[in-house]
């Protein structure tokens, strides 16, 4: 029986989960006018960070731990399942939903998403502290624009500023469920964290390519706004390249 994660890994993972919870507060602490103006660059930056983290940190680490065909099949399988789920259940649940029902669906979907984020953070810290820090950073960065969007929808559903923030922060902490499940599972077999990291690669690709990039490439952003978002995407990629290389260049 493997020894399981050390106390240091537990502390790193739980600290990252709490910081991730803090991302929800950004939406309420920053003036709403600024949020509106900064939304597209924030989304672009988050997409860049997620894509670069997936290709430079998560996938190489997964390929080190699992046979390449199996690793890539799990990543692509997860991506396909997430797309099918979003197009079927997600679309059906939200079409024609009233504002109050939409708020419940939004928080439920956010909790689902956060469990995946928590599992990704834990699996990445189990691979190595460097991959853990970069992955936790990517999770927190992509949460900011998503929480901003959720905050706007909850306010439109009639929630006060305080209640919207409290609900979002509470739901954000469901990431702990995914993190704890992954840490406990890895005590049974170290392969669990490798599988979880491969699943995280698929969910990251889904978030970046299906959720984030279309909002500024196919959405309402035009002209300068779209250019700023694309520049921010490049900046996100560049930041992860620098972080990956300064933190050991992908070598253990």
């Amino acid at each position: 029986m493997p020894a399981g994660p050390t106390a240091t890994i537990w502390i790193w993972v739980m600290a990252a989960v709490v910081l991730d919870g803090g991302a929800a507060l950004v939406a309420g602490l920053v003036p709403e006018g600024w949020l509106e103006a900064a939304r597209d660059p924030l989304v672009g930056f988050a997409a860049g960070v997620l894509l670069a983290t997936t290709f430079l940190d998560v996938l190489p680490e997964t390929l080190r731990a699992l046979p390449p065909q199996a690793a890539l099949a799990i990543v692509l399988g997860t991506l396909a399942v997430m797309i099918v789920l979003e197009w079927t259940i997600g679309h059906r649940a939200t079409s024609g939903a009233g504002a109050r029902r939409l708020a419940a669906i939004l928080l439920g979907a956010d909790a689902f998403h956060n469990v995946a984020d928590g599992a990704a953070i834990a699996a990445a810290f189990l691979a190595s502290p460097r991959v853990g820090l970069i992955t936790a950073g990517a999770v927190i960065v992509h949460e900011v624009p998503e929480e901003v969007a959720d905050y706007v929808l909850l306010r439109q559903a009639g929630l006060s500023r305080g209640r919207a923030l409290a609900a979002m922060t509470g739901v954000q902490l469901t990431a702990a469920v995914g993190a704890i499940a992954t840490l406990v599972g890895s005590a049974a077999s170290p392969l669990v964290s490798s599988f979880a990291l491969a699943v995280a690669g698929g969910t990251f690709l889904h978030i970046a390519e299906v959720d984030l990039v279309p909002t500024f490439l196919a959405g309402r952003a035009r002209g300068r706004r779209r250019a700023r978002a694309v520049l921010a995407l490049c900046a996100g990629i560049a930041l992860v390249i620098v972080g990956t290389n300064t933190g050991g260049g992908g070598q253990r």
Binding site: A70, A111, F112, H113, V115, V177, G178, A181, G185, F195
Partner: protein, 36 residues
């Protein structure tokens, strides 16, 4: 190879079940709190 795929599928399904349970639980609690 096949045992790795099986393991990956198992972890993926477990993840889906846990995440769906948490998501549905949060949505249910929220609706109940709003009604109450």
């Amino acid at each position: 190879m096949s045992e790795y795929l099986l393991g990956g599928a198992l972890v993926g399904v477990l993840f889906l079940v846990v995440a769906a349970a948490v998501g549905l639980g949060v949505a249910w609690l929220w609706r109940r709190a709003r009604r109450g």
